[in-house]
Symmetry: C2
Subunit: 318 residues, 2 copies
């Protein structure tokens, strides 16, 4: 039988999602394993292989797996390794995940990259960027990730780590401290945690009335719900977030002249409040030749499948 | 005889330099024509073709020209056109320069791109970026141009205009008005004109003694000469210029993870005063994984040949 299927794995801090995917992007079978039950990479890979073999049998896919794609934090495409990933319990030092997993899976080839790059490949293969050769994927989740596609290929750079747009500088002076140790990074403002931080700062600094004042701990979802209720402060928080993101998108457009910016991730669900401020700031800050010409689109992948699809799409290139 | 030679043409506002180049990067013959004696593209192309035919005969290169490469402001690689170039007297609207020149030259293929992209190809083919697959060329002249190379190829983007790093935002609030109509662009600070502007502003705003005070009209060359004399204000101007450039280079590194940044152009001659502030700001602002890892190098092409070599290198790809 033809090797007509691939496997996609999205490695996260707490869980890893795995699925078998066909050429049309249908997830035929999927499973989830814990990522945080061991600090030994070997043990994690063994449990991953066991889970994969289960779903392969379930889906009747024995002998049909062409390759395995893995999206993982700090994943390096060139070396197939995960390097010093603070969110992975077993991710200390350098883990040769692609090699180890391929060995456990009887030599099925494994391709690995960071999660945002995987999302970009997924969007190009199955989603909103189908047919596009030049676009920039921005993932707005707990952090801000990015996958840059130029001439139909993900940009990995000299060392395999290209596309860290979440750590470009959004606020030059007195910027917020970012998790990476720098200050003023885009991620410190335009991630879900950045939005929550803006809310906390503004509630403290002003007397403006807001339903957010009644909450103990504020998440970006709370800010979204408040904005939907017409809460003015919440709407202003999204205006601010969108403006900062739009200003940086203008810089990115001047770099690679993409056809579109694709937004993905939890915070992108607040698009009804983000789109206008993003577009206004992006078009006000870009050279006239690109003004109102670069599309802003949102991921079209079903959210529950997106991570698996993104990683699986990598495997078709193997 | 083999078609073993190429022609490089650097189109500038006042003059256009043309040369015949062999595979080693030796300029066998060259000439210069005026670019500003006509406002009719046809007449400019006719005088260009005439000049080329002269040097072809002089160099005994009849039948040996494989292709012609042209570097020109606002040149579009995809379409071979120059679009609304304010500095070219005949550059109004869209000029199909590649097509017109090829017709005048008996069908010799012509490739065209903007001057900074041509410089990047030249540096990769003959200069400081030989053997590099990922680097960013920044040209520090009257303006700030850029040519981005990823995986050994110049990035042209969706529309052919990628790589306008001189117009990314260096100063977000109350930034200088740039020639492009935006404010705060890198070019308004880190070009030769930007340096002169900094000098004028600082002389006006402060009482600091400086030999620059005795000059009527200040150029970046004057600032350089003063810095060489130990003038403290002049040295501070280069510190400021280098810091702003270094801060933006950190952003660019986070985009494409290049092996090196290559600096070129008139202002790059002030490297003894620029290198340290650039490197300090670049390494302070980049993610730890790239800190002190990305090289800062200067063009190694002979300045008088560089423009011709850059453009000619394009022609080898034809």
């Amino acid at each position: 039988m033809d090797k007509d299927l691939v496997i996609g794995i999205d490695v996260g801090g707490q869980t890893s999602k795995c699925g078998i995917v066909d050429a049309r992007g249908t997830v035929l079978a999927q499973t989830v394993i814990r990522s945080d039950e061991t600090d030994k990479p070997e043990e994690f890979v063994a449990s991953l292989a066991e889970a994969l073999n289960h779903i392969i049998v379930d889906a009747g896919a024995e002998g049909r797996i062409r390759g395995i794609g893995v999206g993982a934090p700090n994943g390096n495409y060139y070396t197939g390794t995960i390097e010093s990933a603070p969110n992975l319990k077993w991710g200390h030092d350098k883990v040769e995940l692609a090699k180890m997993l391929s060995q456990q899976m009887n030599g099925i080839p494994v391709s690995l990259t960071n999660d945002a790059n995987a999302a970009a490949v997924g969007e190009m293969t199955y989603g909103a960027a189908r047919g596009m050769k030049n676009f920039i994927m921005i993932t707005l989740g707990t952090g801000v990730g990015s996958g840059i596609v130029i001439n139909g290929e993900v940009v990995y750079g000299h060392d395999g780590f290209a596309g860290e747009l979440g750590h470009t500088c959004a606020v030059r002076h007195n910027g917020r401290v970012c998790g990476c140790g720098k200050t003023g990074c885009l991620e410190a403002y335009c991630s879900a945690t950045g939005v929550a931080r803006t809310a906390r700062e503004w509630l403290e600094m002003t007397d403006e009335p807001s339903e957010l004042r009644s909450l103990d701990k504020i998440t970006s979802k709370d800010v979204y719900d408040a904005a939907k209720d017409g809460d003015k402060l919440a709407i202003k928080i999204f205006d601010y977030t969108g403006r900062i993101l739009g200003e940086k998108l203008a810089d990115f457009i001047e770099f690679s002249a993409p056809e579109a910016i694709v937004l993905f991730g939890g915070l992108a669900r607040s698009k009804e409040f983000l789109t206008e401020p993003i577009l206004n700031a992006m078009n006000a800050n870009v050279l006239p030749l690109w003004r109102n010409k670069v599309k802003l689109v949102y991921s079209s992948l079903k959210e529950s499948d997106a991570a698996i699809l993104g990683a699986s799409a990598l495997a078709w290139e193997l």
